[in-house]
Symmetry: C2
Subunit: 164 residues, 2 copies
């Protein structure tokens, strides 16, 4: 019995370790986040140049900051931008809808840790294998450069899509 | 003291009644739902013909049914489709983003109550005044007619936008 329990314990420990090891990690050390698909929607967007349809989601800290107009965003704010290729809805072609998953991008606020990039840690995971984007930690300069035009909104492009 | 308490009680009762009275109601008796803005996102969409960008949100019953592939959707399933006019992002014009609120539409599943329209109750609230759409309860025939092409998916157009 003792041996069986020990074997089960080893198996469970092994499974847990494997699960953690399998989370993809960006070259700057930001691991793929889990659970973000259930966060609230900040807004949808459409990219003309890429033909992609997107949703930006925010964790509770992000949503509270958006609703209260808090800028800069507090530490712990996290956004997830999900992108899909687009297709005409087969039964209603005036509607364009998501087809296949393209990527997810994260912005994680930690003013001290990511001081050189406006307090934001960036990460992108591409395709169904969630391949981390970037060859080394300097990839974030590309992200940060693109976000510089919205410095006045603490480097965040997306505004909360309003309801009455 | 008794009079003061009575006056406070009357005031509170009056406030509550006013609040409930103020919820707009569709001609078929479906009142504007509150709290739906925090539901999970099912998918974004783009309407070519209207130039609108949208998000479809689902309550927990809807999300569970989508994830488990349950059809027909169980009673209690509720979807909210939010539509905004669209604009180019002023700092990043290849991105099209929400501008002003256009409308929200609800689909509420109750197989018995809404038997004649596939088990779905429909409602639409338009503009910042949330004006109920439709002159009388027959307006739902327009909604139901439009959804008939997706009868095979229990009259729901939107599929869960996938992540890996």
């Amino acid at each position: 019995m003792k041996r069986i329990l020990a074997a089960i314990a080893l198996t469970l420990a092994g499974t847990a370790a494997t699960g953690a090891d399998q989370l993809p990690m960006a070259p700057n050390g930001i691991a793929y986040l889990t659970g973000y698909r259930s966060w609230e929607a900040v807004a949808p967007s459409w990219r003309d140049d890429k033909g992609q349809i997107r949703i930006i989601l925010g964790n509770p800290t992000a949503m509270a900051a958006l609703r209260q107009g808090t800028r800069p965003f507090p530490d712990g704010t996290t956004f997830a931008k999900l992108a899909w290729s687009a297709k005409k809805h087969p039964k209603f072609p005036v509607a364009t809808v998501p087809d296949t998953f393209v990527q997810v991008e994260f912005m994680v606020k930690d003013g001290a840790k990511y001081k050189t990039t406006g307090g934001w840690g960036f990460a992108r995971f591409v395709g169904n294998t969630l391949r981390p984007y970037g060859k080394d930690p300097s990839f974030v300069q590309e992200c940060f450069g693109c976000h510089t035009p919205v410095k006045d909104n603490d480097f965040v492009f997306t505004h909360l899509a309003p309801i009455p």
